[in-house]
Symmetry: C2
Subunit: 151 residues, 2 copies
DNA sequence: GCTTTATTGCGAGCTTCTCGCAATTGAGAT
DNA sequence: ATCTCAATTGCGAGAAGCTCGCAATAAAGC
């Protein structure tokens, strides 16, 4: 989570430690679920010269190094980025207020075990997204029709 | 799964039964995991006048009616469409051969119960994607680095 | 400091998907 | 059957999200 970690990961893989990379890193490490565009905006508060492509390239590199993860919470919308977390963490997104929170559960371990033992499938990554109504929104709303598709 | 089902769903909601909709429906019902573009191509084998926008509009409508589901298996890539299935079904995608298969498990019920009871979260939809190496590919490969991002 | 080469900014461009509008067509009323 | 009229379609323009090539810049070893 610290920038030392980033320096080590980059250096160890023969990549350079640059301004844009450090800036992107600190934003991603500070706030999860941001889009590349949002990250770019925060980065530009400090250094307005940083280009959006560099943000994308930094994020892609971090993802290759296993430091960061891309998750598409909205099909059709932009991807969101966050620190690579253990698979046991999954996303809960409220359809009403849009809030996304992390949640921890042990069920992922069970799926992994089942697939490995019974199906010879080597699990590398698990992405679990639960959509619904959070406790606040469910109090003020009646659970109506399915979420509609919109951008 | 039959076209009668579609007729009823459309008519019941005040929508018309049209050629493009029937064509899109039969393709989606016949083959899962196709992209809109792929669906359009198959549809055009029968009726070359059907436009890609109509395919998108049909799919969006079906999704609103709860008949079909959009799933983004590749972040950044095009969405894939399939018949709405029970949440207990989830996707297993092989990183090496790209094959996607459905798998059934009871873990989703457990998550739902846990979140409902302990967190007041009303679950409406669960999306689970497991990425890794299928049994065939894991025999001929050594499980190497994390999957890299590429379009 | 100097050199080398990875990295960046910039802009063009690609892919996926959406939207407005005029033309068409389904389905209830006649 | 035919008519009527709103729902739907095809079409093209265009938005959003992301990628890529290239010249300029800057990190890191010497």
């Amino acid at each position: 989570m610290t920038t030392e970690w980033l320096r080590d990961s980059l250096g160890g893989a023969g990549h350079r430690v640059t301004g844009p990379r450090l800036a992107v890193w600190s934003v991603v490490a500070g706030t999860p679920h941001l889009t590349a565009e949002e990250i770019a905006q925060v980065v530009r508060d400090t250094d307005p010269t940083v280009n959006l492509s560099s943000v994308y390239r930094s994020l892609s590199l971090f993802a290759e190094l296993g430091l960061v993860r891309e998750s598409s919470l909205d099909t059709g919308g932009p991807s969101h980025w966050e620190l690579a977390h253990a698979d046991e963490q999954f996303h809960m997104r409220c359809r009403s207020c849009g809030k996304v929170e992390h949640h921890h559960g042990d069920l992922v371990e069970r799926v992994v075990g089942h697939l490995t033992n019974d199906h010879g499938f080597i699990v590398e990554q698990v992405d679990l997204l639960v959509t619904g109504l959070c406790s606040e929104c469910s109090r003020s709303q009646s659970p109506s029709a399915r979420p509609s598709r919109s951008r």
